[in-house]
Symmetry: C2
Subunit: 305 residues, 2 copies
Amino acid sequence: MNFEVTILGCGAATPTARHNPSAQVVNVHDKLFLIDCGEGTQMRLREEKFRVQRINHIFISHLHGDHCLGLVGLICSQHLLGRKGPLHLYGPPDLKEWIELSLKVSQTYLDFPLEFHANSFDGKNLIMEDKSIEVYSFPLKHRIECCGYQFVEKPRLPRIEKSSILEFDLQPSHIIALKHNQEVTLSNGTVLTPEQVCIDVAPVRSYSYCSDTMYWETLIPSIKGSNLLYHESTFLESEKERAKTTFHSTAKQAARIAAQAEVKQLLLGHFSSRYGDERQFVEEASEFFKNCTVAFEGLTIHVPY
Amino acid sequence: MNFEVTILGCGAATPTARHNPSAQVVNVHDKLFLIDCGEGTQMRLREEKFRVQRINHIFISHLHGDHCLGLVGLICSQHLLGRKGPLHLYGPPDLKEWIELSLKVSQTYLDFPLEFHANSFDGKNLIMEDKSIEVYSFPLKHRIECCGYQFVEKPRLPRIEKSSILEFDLQPSHIIALKHNQEVTLSNGTVLTPEQVCIDVAPVRSYSYCSDTMYWETLIPSIKGSNLLYHESTFLESEKERAKTTFHSTAKQAARIAAQAEVKQLLLGHFSSRYGDERQFVEEASEFFKNCTVAFEGLTIHVPY
């Protein structure tokens, strides 16, 4: 089952020739979720061959322009392309007023409902779930109210191999019961336990998104053990004072968070326009956390087991 | 003296791989003016090598997203890049409320003033002038309140050739008086008239911008005799019913307006995403108005004499 992240933009506040503002697509078992939606995201979706109508849930971390200014355009394009089904928007409470005024001044009357879900900034909260995924929000430490997001696969039922089904002549009712950890009595009187035939599937994975935030150990419990962590590293450590005053992080700080949270892999992003070569970020971070890589536009990274 | 228009985007409502939403830079005597500011305009400015801080006046035709959704991002980038001088915004009255709320929800406090100039939709109005240019707004006929804009060079003073200056030993006071159509008496008693030494400069030129509008003869007096006219042609004549119901124009209709307004050159733009080859627009329009061309991203067109 696929679980992967595609980077549409990983620049900081000012877009450059090299980086678009923040946006990424999380593909969980072929369902697409959008995190942040900086200016130009709808064009970037098209470039990466994602159909805009496949986006049904959009998670906005905060209302700085580089994380949300593409949202109205994307909504309008979904409308013009004939969308009817609801679009779910998760983000700060002010998101609703801003979107509604933006649509009102353009006299745009959508043919589909917008479902607003205002984030709480108090602890980690389950904000969305379906049969295969749970999504949580948790506060980050930035200049304005800002949330990170965590996508967690739900445990799947164990598998039963075809050879076992044939050997014990298992009927559908047997299979369902065994997968739900119940013993069954076969027609010949044999009692079969789940342990005898069930095979565990791969363990669940999680992806955590932390942009924008200063170095903030309080967030560590929320992302503990993530298989993949995207943590902003707007600056290098040489600019750590600037990182502090602007409520951003350095590559070293991102790596220290990753190490303490015992994540499997770290993905660095949200690079300031002052840097021309992001390899420096990996060099700095990997002293403190080995398995790290840098984001770039067009990167698709699989959430590792 | 240069007077040219650079197309940053000439697509209609839905951006495509071929077209960006509406935006264009008018360069009048090396001063840059921006007309409309669809999503991604700040990136397009950068691609075309225009420094964003050189933009001091932005003219928004109407508040449909494809004409204004890049504005907040551009303003924020000017702020982040250290702007101090005022930025003048011309457009519908609701523009102010929308921009102010967009800045408020992101807690962006600009270091420079935004000067809002609300358009009237009653007739043609002078809305801006400096020593070399006048800008007028005039109503178009669209689904929501929408204005076109006209840029008109101011007449320049005549020139006096260096040979005349030497021949008559003209002093600065003489030159100023002659250029302002006054006779002067030289030190030897000779009376010199402006006609004897002044050379006329090129006549003034004008550029008119009409996007978005249905076929509407009422606008003709506002653009009469323009040297260059940008008129939207969202559709071909085969879609004229659709053009009518959506308050847009066909290429034929744009050409008929150009012909009746006796403009020198017609530039077609605002193409619907349904068309893959814009040469059809020129073919259709040129039956009714010969000197026409199609806009494309990156085109710089000189306003002809």
